[in-house]
Amino acid sequence: MAGGYAGKFLRVNLTEGSWSDFTLDHDTLKRFIGGSCLAAKLFLDQYPLDADPLSPENPLMIMTGPMVGSGFPGTSRFSVCARSPQTGIWAESACGGTFGPELKRTGYDGVVIEGRSQDPVTLTIHDSGVRISDASSLWGRDIYEATDTLKAGDKSAKVLAIGPAGENLARIAAIGNDKGHFSGRAGLGALMGSKNLKAVVVRGTSAKAAKADDAGFKAAMKTAMQEIKDSALAEGLHMMGSDANMDLGMVTGDVPVKNWTSGGEFDLASNLSGPTMREKYLTKAHACTNCPIACKRVVKVDDGPFATAEGPGPEYETCAVFGTMMMNPDLTAVIKANELCNRYGMDTISCGSAVALAMELYEKGEITKDRLGGLDLSWGNMDAVLELVRQTAYREGFGDILADGAVHAARRLGGSAMDAVVHVKGLEAPMHDPRGFHGMGLAYMMSNRGACHLQHFVLATEQGMASWPQLFDMKDDYEGTTSVGKAWLVYNSENYGILANSLSICHYVAYSIRPETLRDAFNAITGFGFDFAELLSTGMRDWTLKRGFNNLLGISKKDDILPKRIMTALEEGGAAGSVPDTDLLLKEYYALRGLDERGFPKEDVLVRLGLNELKERLY
């Protein structure tokens, strides 16, 4: 057994109420490492791709990596994976918090949940055993309430839970870990709801994965802590959270405004920014397990119409989607929207994007007040927005149309709706405008779960948060509004970022430390002895594996596109007059990835990466 792994995985069948352990061989672990990469390998090997994503045949996989639980900074993460209920293609949603290291302490590297329980249940994994128990009394409760109840008997237990959105099979439903951390994207909360699985509770007390080289690990750990201490990025994240991006992003054209139709709203951004949150509403910074950065916000709004008790605060994405995207200048309304989405268990990006779409259609007269049940969905009317968020979680009224995300809503609404949705492959884009950063546009087109800012490190490299010349030939300072040279940037930033996801390490930590430090820590834990080329090759293998997964589900070059709205230049702001050159980007990127004219990995690429079984299925 390689170092860092607990050594076994848990397979639970909710239909039968049974469970068993299984193991993976050393070669599989070395090639696919962990996290979503290992999940994709397992899925392709063992499960049908063509099953309805909300059927019992779609497995829900919760995976850690070999660094999780090691104590190394940022290694709290885990990935929830499946075929997406929202997009129908590969889904993965990584999450920080507390669950990953605790799962490792129970003696498991991951959990695969199959089938469907007849009645609501909770799955409890303790290092002394596994239990499936009745959760009828929890069904209907929001995530905060359910989590508090499940932790009442043991505050050290760590909880993954869904809320009403997941129970109601909203395809934008999220899964919450200990109330403040979310596997948000691609609707995996709906899959959990379809299995009648209210929560997974883990509590480990003894298991500890051995490291291959303790002394080497301690040295890498010491180096990492110093590098984080010296990092201005880490300092900024600690002080302002991810919302530090709001002011800077508005200047550079990164922040979408008014459902992606405007830019240059500096005062609006200032009201919603990390410094403002820090000055007015922050009560403390919060850290995931083993993280010295502590980028998470804990906030409180004492009074006013959106007064909110102390609790987890919004990330940048939430501040943008419930702020600038809706022309809402009130950060307290964003904080309330964030709390509601957390409690109901909904992805803030998807939920906010769907609501912003509805606001635009309301302004155009394509949705009437009558159809909205009397709500005045004018830009910035946050009372109406919050009511619509509630309706979405419960599939009430107009919320039923939004509950499956902006793309499904646009299909049902017709008219100009589809032209107003910014998505790739069915997943709404996160709050980074490709017109300001063309590399991000390519990353959206090619990310395997649809438009995504977390399957890669493009955000860091293109915007200059980090520079890794030791990994690949890159510049210190990229101009955002050019497509030249961006395919190379994206290709390499993907391979490194995907690797980090396989290791289950936080992006912010990976941005703040040198690649040499991450490599040394990884090797000291696992004993794999990888050099940079091998590490990046792992990223390449993972990307290709998931691309093949999607190819088998019908994804091809026709789907590698940016939506009409993004291909329409803005008239103001940092991205004014700019749209990505998608022909250039795709041509260069396809060559780097070894994709054929259909958008399939070429046979020789699959062989070189050791993906022979995938080759047999694709050719």
């Binding site: 300092e235 302002m240 200047v251 990390g274 410094p275 200059g464 300072d477």
Partner: protein, 142 residues
């Protein structure tokens, strides 16, 4: 006629460029406080000693712009330190100052959220740095 970089004459020219800019006053209306730049020595590029530059900005106006000693530099509200080559890259806009800060190529002591909130002011004064016709030490050296 180019002015030797990081001399008092150069600081005066930089101050004049800021004062002459039609947009600066409104963009920087909220900025309060002094900034000093510390240029690390680089003998190979004809910068044998550290150089300290102190600039006082206040609500769209500018005060002292002086070459100073270490003690005065360190008294500024914001102290930014970097290698000579990095500062030259910033002046030529080959390297964005914010990115240099995040990548650790420049270091800053001071209230980071304040800088983020006033990023348009920061970008403006850096932009105006490039307006000064400058002879750099290593240009001279060649």
């Amino acid at each position: 006629m180019p002015i030797k970089a990081m001399t008092q004459e150069w600081m005066d020219a930089y101050k004049a460029a800021i004062q002459a800019d039609p947009e600066y006053k409104s963009i920087a209306k909220d900025w309060e406080g002094s900034v000093s730049l510390v240029v690390n020595p680089d003998p190979a590029r004809n910068v044998p000693e550290p150089i300290y530059l102190f600039m006082d900005y206040w609500h769209g106006d500018v005060g002292d712009f002086v070459v100073c000693d270490k003690e005065k530099a360190e008294s500024a509200k914001f102290v930014m330190t970097g290698d000579y080559a990095r500062w030259k890259q910033v002046a030529y806009k080959e390297l964005d100052a914010t990115k240099a800060l995040l990548q650790g190529k420049l270091k800053m002591k001071g209230d980071l959220p304040y800088v983020v909130r006033n990023i348009k002011t920061v970008n403006k004064v850096i932009d105006l740095l490039g307006k000064v016709d400058t002879l750099w030490p290593d240009d001279d050296h060649q």
